[in-house]
């Protein structure tokens, strides 16, 4: 099995006529079993099509054309219009919104997330590459063109959660090369406020029988790792977690942001050193190098099954 999406998932692409969105649509249609992209939305472009996907002016038209509820949306509109697009998707019954757009002010993100919560919907991102279930479906640009994604991702038992889109693929590729496939890989986004954090995705992986271990990519900035450590401690998780922490050099450079908008050391709790300590306290192994991750995962899985 997988989390969030599977071969039955239907979704739309908002902003589908943009250059990147056109590529993303092609990639998703080509990957695995072929995503069911049931429509695209760009205001004023009703009647066009993108790689055979019909384009609508509104999400409501897409839903009507589909003849029933649509599961998800990939939002790729410019930052100034993203909030409106996300509210439109959720108001029209969509329950899973992947926001690709970056540079969205956090007030907008927080509003979208609170609105989503009220409507029992979930947001992944912003500033993310989406979700992939190896050989089955991908929702977003994650892994790139189908043939490239197929090189890096294989089906298996490891759940991957990453604050960096590119590093989701790098880590999955490393797992694949070592014979460890992935159940689902989620690029959660690099901003200070995001729709779904590690701790918020953990219950889904916990409930997924295919998943036997979790690999996460983390960075300085924010309290998301502390939240994960707390979750793991309080919930007696069955899943071993292996983490990789990038940006250790930033501890010496408070107040400066590198890599992603959310990556900034503002206080002691934001530092790489502090996060590594928190994760370790919760029994999460922090690898020094990515190449060490597969062996650690294998031994942690073996330990668990021996118990």
């Amino acid at each position: 099995m997988s989390i969030l999406i599977d071969e039955t998932t239907t979704f739309i692409v908002q902003g589908i006529t943009g250059r990147e969105a056109v590529n993303l649509t092609r990639e998703c249609l080509d990957y695995g079993a072929g995503a069911q992209i049931v429509g695209g939305v760009t205001p004023g472009r009703l009647g066009r099509d993108v790689h055979g996907v019909p384009v609508f002016d509104t999400v409501a038209q897409a839903v009507e054309h589909h003849g029933g509820p649509i599961d998800g949306s990939v939002v790729t509109v410019p930052p100034a219009f993203t909030k409106d697009a996300v509210l439109e998707a959720i108001a029209n019954g969509i329950k899973l919104v992947v926001i690709v757009t970056e540079r969205i002010p956090r007030r907008d993100v927080a509003q979208m997330v609170e609105f989503a919560k009220q409507h029992d919907a979930r947001i992944i991102g912003p500033n993310c590459l989406g979700i992939i279930v190896p050989d089955v479906i991908k929702m977003g640009g994650i892994g790139g063109p189908a043939k490239d994604a197929a090189k890096a991702y294989t089906p298996g038992s490891v759940g991957v959660i990453s604050r960096s889109g590119g590093m989701t693929t790098e880590m999955s590729s490393t797992l694949t090369a070592a014979g460890l496939g992935q159940s689902t890989a989620v690029s959660i986004g690099g901003d200070a406020i995001i729709g779904s954090s590690y701790a918020e995705l953990m219950p889904l992986f916990e409930a997924d029988e295919q998943t036997e271990a979790i690999v996460i990519y983390t960075e300085p900035g924010g309290r998301m790792e502390a939240e994960l450590a707390k979750w793991v401690t309080e919930n007696d998780s069955r899943l071993p977690i292996v983490a990789f922490m990038a940006g250790r050099f930033m501890d010496e450079m408070p107040g400066m942001s590198f890599g992603h908008a959310g990556t900034i050391v503002e206080g002691k709790a934001d530092t790489a050193a502090e996060k590594i300590a928190r994760l370790a306290e919760a029994g999460i192994v922090v690898a020094e190098e990515i190449s060490q991750i597969p062996d650690i995962v294998k031994s942690r899985i073996a330990e668990r099954s021996a118990v």
Partner: protein, 403 residues
Amino acid sequence: MRFFEYESRQIVKAAGIPVSAHGFARTPEEARRIAEEIAAPVVIKSQVLTGGRMKAGGVRFADTPEEAAREAEFVLGLEINGHMPRGVLVDSKVAVKQEFYAGVVWDGIRKQPVMLFSDMGGIDIEEVAETHPDRVGRGHFSNLTEVSDYEAKQVIASIGVTGSALTRATPILARLARLFVRHDMTLAEINPLALLEDGRFVAVDAHMDMENEARGRQQTLLKALGVGDEETRQAREATPFELAGEEVDAQDHRGVAGNVTEFDGNLGLVIGAGGGSLTLFDAVRAHGGKPANYCEIGGNPSVAKACGLAKLVLQKPGVEKIAVMMSIVSNTRVDIVARGVIKACLELGYDPAEKIAIFRIPGAWEDEGFKILKKYGVEYCDRSVSMHEAARRAVEKIQGVAA
């Protein structure tokens, strides 16, 4: 982006929060005039975007306008943590009965703003929260409706403040919360918020931080404060090398080849993408390497941009070789980056095989890219070589020994 105290005062004042009588001066003469207007003892405060000004001697007291001018002259010439002040704030010395703290910040876990209030003002709130948790009131508020006064009142009352202090502080905290939201702040704090002998509250110091991503839609505020687009207000001012990096990135709109930060090592880095750069920079240092710079490539930049970035790094004094490395790319094309960095070497009269310590970018169009690199004799590797191993090889080449 950070605001100077004198700007933060204007922001809170515009939101209807009382502030002590004050003025901003760029010269001792201006300071004298403001002190004359206030016609009472004043405090001269250095206007710098860094902490610790009290300790550094950047806060002085003056009883007369002449003294104010003299103290202002001293403070205007005082460097604090490498920052020269933009001016001084001439503030009236108020009769404080008690110092409070009022602040609003984001809670990234709850994904809502949170109001903070304490009756232990004048010191760092994080410190108070640690030593006297019962003296800090907290209240999250919704992103979807405007915060109401009662929400602020609950926060203040939760630490036992009552009477006229409660009723007078309530609108101040509520207004602070509303301005935080309206102006896309990431931090809005008044510390100390002074309760005067006559029962009034005034903001004696204010600290505001606004989100960079919101600069576009906060133009009205920024114009009113006279903050130009050229002022980045980052923690450290950009060096000429970093500004040159911005120019490279701005030459066209395709992809990113920039976000340069200067360091003083001998190994130039042409690296990406966001998370990849963080990982690779750490990896170089873990193997004993000394990076000359940090940077980011991503989103499929043009050959010209990749070339421009590589040239900039190659020409940096002290750089012996460059390492071109990224995490697996799916959108950036390997061959385009390869072309760009080779072109940079050739145009500067260098042998690419000599100057490029290693090229590790696996992914889209890698076969085409590797063909070009092979032709020029550049050492390259695919995804079977880890990012850390590639960094190790680059460091080894430059140091001539295994790290």
